[in-house]
């Protein structure tokens, strides 16, 4: 009689505690972001960006005094607006300073904190807490893996934890790269908490070894790329939703109304980036991730060939991955075709993400197929 064990209960227990701690810290970060949004509404909107461009203009002026070369490029934007981009090269040093100013229409909002210093402080606290939460979260995932000496994404609970972490890490990575994405903080923390909440309550499975079907190096490749794609699609989904909201807000303002869609406060929308920024962001993420998603499906097919004998059997998971793929392909084609930009394409992106969500939760829970492992 052979019995397999190989679970370190202490590490497994530590993993659970770390995940719960991460959730607590994320929750506090969420409140800090809410405070940021609340206090930020009292500051005057859009002043900071003017200050910012003012200081940039000073820099440019200082450089220009010594500049040998200067070029101004006129850029035509959507709807006949124009913006300019100026590039200057300082004589002798070869260094260049690039500045860009944008037309009034496309101006990005100043961010959640507006011009309020208190709100900015709350925002900074929120980001610090998110970093702390992410560290605890990472610790939880690593100890989970160590407790059973394998990759920590063998079942839906582990996949969800890794998936929420991928999303948070992507957001923090963008912040670290000095991108202006702090406005993404609240939705990311909310989405992360939601995912972790479902994982710890509905999907929880004790730390254990895997069924033989999962003993494969493809587990590290196929599942980790799926996790990354999920996190990125989620982020693009948030950007798409915000695009639709901001676009609706812009239209309402143009129509003379004073509030955002669904009775939301105008101050929130004013502080967010421009609709076109959201639109571009969601397109870029989706376009970036699409080849990786293709790779995930193909890696899955290669694995399926080794495990089940056929690389494609229309197993429900395969089918829904395919449906998701086709939906995102539709979206990308629509973007490249005249007349399908903007809201129509955004609806397609939402539909595609809905397919992804169903593929994850729906197929695993309601449909029985070959992707059912370890309880759920």
């Amino acid at each position: 009689m052979h019995l397999a064990s190989g679970v370190d209960p202490q590490l497994a227990d530590l993993s659970n505690k770390l995940i719960y701690s991460a959730m607590v810290v994320y929750t506090i970060a969420m409140f800090a972001h809410m405070i940021e949004w609340t206090f930020g509404s009292k500051g005057a909107v859009a002043v900071r960006s003017q200050q910012q461009s003012g200081s940039l203009a000073e820099t440019v002026a200082a450089v220009e005094a010594k500049a040998a070369k200067k070029v101004t490029v006129t850029v035509a934007g959507a709807g006949g607006s124009t913006t300019t981009l100026t590039r200057t090269a300082v004589a002798g040093e070869g260094a260049t300073v690039v500045t860009s100013g944008r037309g009034a229409e496309e101006e990005d909002g100043p961010g959640a904190a507006g011009t309020s210093e208190r709100a900015d402080l709350a925002g900074r606290i929120a980001v610090s807490l998110t970093v702390l939460g992410a560290l605890l979260h990472a610790g939880g995932i690593v100890t989970r893996g160590l407790s059973v000496s394998r990759w920590p994404w063998g079942n839906m609970y582990e996949f969800s934890c890794a998936f929420a972490f991928a999303m948070t890490a992507a957001y923090l990575g963008l912040l670290a790269a000095r991108k202006n994405v702090r406005w993404l903080g609240l939705p990311v923390v909310l989405a992360g908490l939601l995912t972790l909440g479902i994982a710890t309550t509905v999907l929880y499975t004790d730390s254990d070894q895997l069924v033989p079907a999962l003993h494969s190096p493809w587990l590290a490749i196929h599942v980790s790329t799926a996790i990354f794609c999920g996190g990125a699609f989620y982020a693009a989904f948030i950007a798409t939703l915000l695009y639709l909201g901001k676009d609706a807000f812009d239209k309402r303002i143009a129509a003379g109304l004073t509030t955002g869609p669904l009775g939301t406060s105008a101050s929130i929308w004013r502080r967010l980036p421009a609709a076109s920024t959201f639109d571009k962001l969601s397109y870029r993420i989706n376009a970036l991730v699409f080849p990786l998603w293709t790779f995930t499906i193909i890696a899955g097919a290669v694995w399926a060939e080794a495990a089940w004998g056929k690389y494609w059997e229309w197993d429900p998971k395969e089918t829904w991955s395919f449906i998701t793929w086709v939906a995102y392909a539709c979206y990308l084609h629509a973007r490249a075709t005249a007349g399908w930009k903007g809201r129509k394409a955004a609806y397609l992106a939402l539909a595609a993400f809905a397919c992804w969500l169903f593929n994850y939760y729906g197929v695993n829970i309601f449909v029985t197929g070959k992707h059912s492992y370890a309880g759920i």
Binding site: M1, T74, L85, Q209, P212, I298, E313, T319, H333
Partner: protein
């Protein structure tokens, strides 16, 4: 796709009679288009519709919709599909015939699903083939000459310099070449283009989809799979007579089976022994010996595990199931051994509660009458102390406390009728259950125990047990084609999504009042804001050879030469260069 004049933003090409019909897709207009043109006109109109981007998008959308029912309704082609479909049909007796008629149990080979993807691929071919030729033409021609009015381009910069116009043009030509543009200097202007890999990637991606489809098609025409169950110690030759079942296809029938011999020497299984997932499988290993070809004198050793099939010739052998085979010896009243062997029992649940039958067809005579014996019952690898309340079930999938539970029958098994029989079921028509003390005869045996059968029928001994494993012998050609197609598809996708195709023009013209006017303009063919930065970089570099004259504002800011007028849609992807005969406006429609 070919002309995508489905949106009003794109003006119909002049002289194109069908353009109006294409722009609108409502029924009345559709009938307007081809009426009176005859069959050829209809065909041409249909072909144009089919290869239009809009129809391709609709087909793509339909494909994803059509794939949905197959994920919710059991399919014949999935694992154990037949059983699941039959069970589903029994549960939904009213709608089952309708579903059957709609091919909903066979979605992915149904007429309607096939129609969608075949149309999609025809549409794709109708678009990709002309586009490939077009692209070859583009590669053979010079980059399109600079438009007359550069200020109408999406990005634009200009300044005045004292340098000579020809020098500036030559410098710009050099500069663009150095930046690996395809550049061409003529007519006092430089035309340059870069990022052809985008179109290459785009074409590669769509072409490799055909390779994928080809691999799929070849696999469905020339593959076959067979099943074989072996008890430890048994072996078989891969021929139709020795296989349990075989599913062939048009080009791989029973006569094409790869010749090989395979023997299962032993099978090991490990299971989770504690925790909430107790009983979950952890490892299965089948140790085998095999030889390719028909020569069985020299056997090679090998192992087959889940995820690690064994490749023999062009076939792969997959481990798909396992179970127990109790070793049973039956003696008749005279004490002669009439049955001895390992009998595979089939697992019914995750804990290997297994059912099976023993058919003793050579029992001989009893009371001067030819008799056969049959036994049916359970093998339990970990039997509970008592079956009370639970019936005979196993508590754990491994052999912690094995037990054999049997009922006995006597009579005619029907094995002599010549009809094929299910070896896991008793034909009870002419069998009667043996009775002991007024109760149906029944025994629970531990390994080594012997059951004295009632009415002097003899004895049954439970000698022990072996494990069996079942294998799928799969011959599937075309995998390489599909994999190559898939890898090329990813490479193509990367090219078509991450490479930016753009054109840059530089024109230096001597001004009447002395000095030279330098103009730069750029057109990106995709959603990228980087073209402005690239143009600025280029312009700064160009100022090494054409320093801006200090006394003047950059010429591009003058109101007379202002940026694109609002009436003109200035989206890079939509607007098109007037002087560009080689590339139509819809060039990048499928990017």
């Amino acid at each position: 796709m070919s002309n995508t004049t489905t949106e009003t933003e794109l003006p119909p090409a002049p002289g194109d009679a069908d353009a109006a019909a294409e722009r609108l897709s409502t029924a009345p207009v559709e009938s307007e288009g081809p009426v009176g043109i005859g069959t050829f006109g209809w065909a041409r109109w249909m072909w144009r519709q089919l290869t239009s981007m809009r129809v391709a998008l609709i087909l793509l959308f339909l494909l994803s919709l059509a794939a949905i029912p197959g994920s919710l309704i059991p399919q014949y082609q999935n694992g154990q599909g037949q059983l699941k479909v039959e069970a589903w049909k029994a549960q939904h007796a009213t709608v089952a015939p309708v579903y059957e008629k709609l091919q909903l149990f066979d979605v992915y080979s149904s007429v309607w699903f096939s129609a969608i993807y075949i149309l999609l691929f025809v549409s794709l071919a109708g678009c990709i083939v002309p586009r490939t030729w077009q692209f070859v033409g583009v590669l053979r021609a010079q980059p399109p000459a600079a438009p007359r009015n550069l200020t109408r381009m999406p990005v634009y910069a200009a300044w005045r310099t004292e340098a000579d116009a020809e020098t500036v043009n030559a410098a710009a030509h050099r500069l663009l070449r150095r930046r690996r543009f395809r550049a061409h200097l003529s007519g006092g202007a430089v035309a340059a283009e870069k990022g052809y890999l985008r179109e290459v990637g785009n074409l590669l991606f769509h072409l490799s989809l055909f390779a994928l489809l080809g691999g799929f098609a070849w696999a469905s025409l020339a593959s076959g799979s067979a099943g074989k169950l072996m008890v430890e110690g048994e072996g078989f030759s891969n021929t139709i007579t020795q296989l349990d079942d075989f599913n062939g296809t048009r080009f791989y029938g029973s006569e094409n089976l790869d010749p090989f011999y395979l023997k299962l020497t032993n099978f090991t299984a490990k299971f989770q022994a504690s925790g909430s997932q107790i009983g979950a499988a952890r490892q299965f290993t089948a140790n085998v010996e095999y030889s390719s070809g028909s020569d069985t004198s020299q056997l090679k050793k090998g192992t087959i595990e889940v995820n690690h099939p064994l490749e023999i010739g062009d076939s792969k052998v997959f481990l798909i199931g396992h179970g127990f085979a109790p070793l049973i010896t039956v003696r008749n009243a005279k004490g002669e051994v009439v049955y001895k062997g390992a009998t595979p029992f089939l697992p019914q649940d995750g804990n290997q509660t297994s059912t099976g039958v023993v058919k003793v067809s050579d029992y001989g005579d009893k009371d001067g009458q030819k008799t056969q014996l049959g036994f049916s019952g359970f093998f339990l690898p970990t039997a509970p102390v008592s079956f009370e309340g639970t019936g005979p079930i196993s508590l754990f999938p491994d052999d912690a406390a094995p037990a054999l539970v049997l009922n006995a029958y006597a009579g005619d098994l029907g094995t002599d009728s010549g009809l094929p029989q299910n070896i896991y079921q008793l034909n009870m028509r002419k069998m009667t259950q043996l009775v002991q003390d007024g109760q149906p005869a029944k025994a629970r045996l531990a390994p080594g125990q012997t059951w004295e059968l009632p009415d002097g029928y003899g004895t049954l001994t439970f000698d022990g047990y072996k494990r069996w494993a079942s294998f799928d012998v799969s011959h599937r050609p075309g995998n390489e084609i599909a994999l190559t197609g898939a890898v090329l598809a990813i490479l193509g996708l990367i090219g078509s999504l991450f490479v930016q195709r753009r054109r840059i023009w530089v024109r230096a013209v001597a001004l009447p009042g002395g000095g030279t006017q330098v103009e730069l303009a750029g057109l990106a063919r995709s959603e990228s804001a980087k073209i402005a930065e690239e143009l600025a970089e280029l312009a700064v570099d160009l100022q090494d050879d054409a320093p801006a004259a200090d006394d003047e504002e950059p010429a591009g800011d003058g109101p007379a030469e202002g940026p694109a007028e609002p009436a003109e849609p200035a989206e890079p992807e939509d607007s098109e260069v007037p002087a560009d005969p080689t590339v139509p406006a819809d060039q990048n429609a499928k990017e």
